[in-house]
């Protein structure tokens, strides 16, 4: 059975937002910088609420920030 995983475009969106730092994003959505690091590296899947907060921080719909697709590994 094919494995699926959640990936994201946070790194690119931070770049597009004028090199927003992980710390800035963390402060905007109310989590620690380490959690943003883990989410960005797809090592931690955020709750739906946090995912919406991150999408809102970039002024993007959720599906432009997070993707659910086949695991390349």
């Amino acid at each position: 059975m094919e494995k699926f995983r959640i990936s994201n475009a946070i790194r690119r969106l931070r770049f597009d937002a004028g090199e927003m730092t992980q710390k800035d994003l963390a402060e905007k959505v109310g989590v620690t910088r380490q959690t943003i690091v883990a989410i960005e590296a797809a090592k931690y899947s955020p709750t739906l609420e946090l995912a919406f907060k991150i999408a809102r921080a970039f002024d993007q719909p959720l599906e432009q920030v997070f993707f659910y697709g086949p695991d390349p590994d």
């Binding site: 109310g30 989590v31 620690t32 910088r33 380490q34 959690t35 883990a38 590296a41 090592k43 931690y44 955020p46 709750t47 946090l50």
Partner: protein
Amino acid sequence: MSHEERNAVVSILINIGVDIWVIITLYGLWQAGAFAGPDALQIWARTILWAVAMTIVATIALTILVAIVHGILTRDEDVSTDERDKAYQLRGMAVTMVVASFGTVGAIVALAFGVSGVFAMTTIYFAMSVGALTGDAVRLLSYRVWC
């Protein structure tokens, strides 16, 4: 390393230290024959109460000390927690509960087969202690390895 990761490390170190103290103290009392008399459980309980008190005091003191030293060394004074910390905490607690439950059931079974009350209570204490240690290790691994 986040505040909660540091707390997990502090908790593991204190747990190991206090457990070593408990083992040495209980072994000394057992060799001196303190658990042979009718007040064996009271003597055991006083020892464990000291262990609990030491754990609480050491955890508070070391957590504050580590936070201060980390803040001075890295200038990172963030001690906040978030949903990831809570998720990993829950994962660790689940493991703690399983280990502690198995130990407690084991102690009850041992009691049914005639072991002393002190032996059964010691088994329960170490089941909880090893449970806490395992839970903290799982918490730490969640941050570092499993994510």
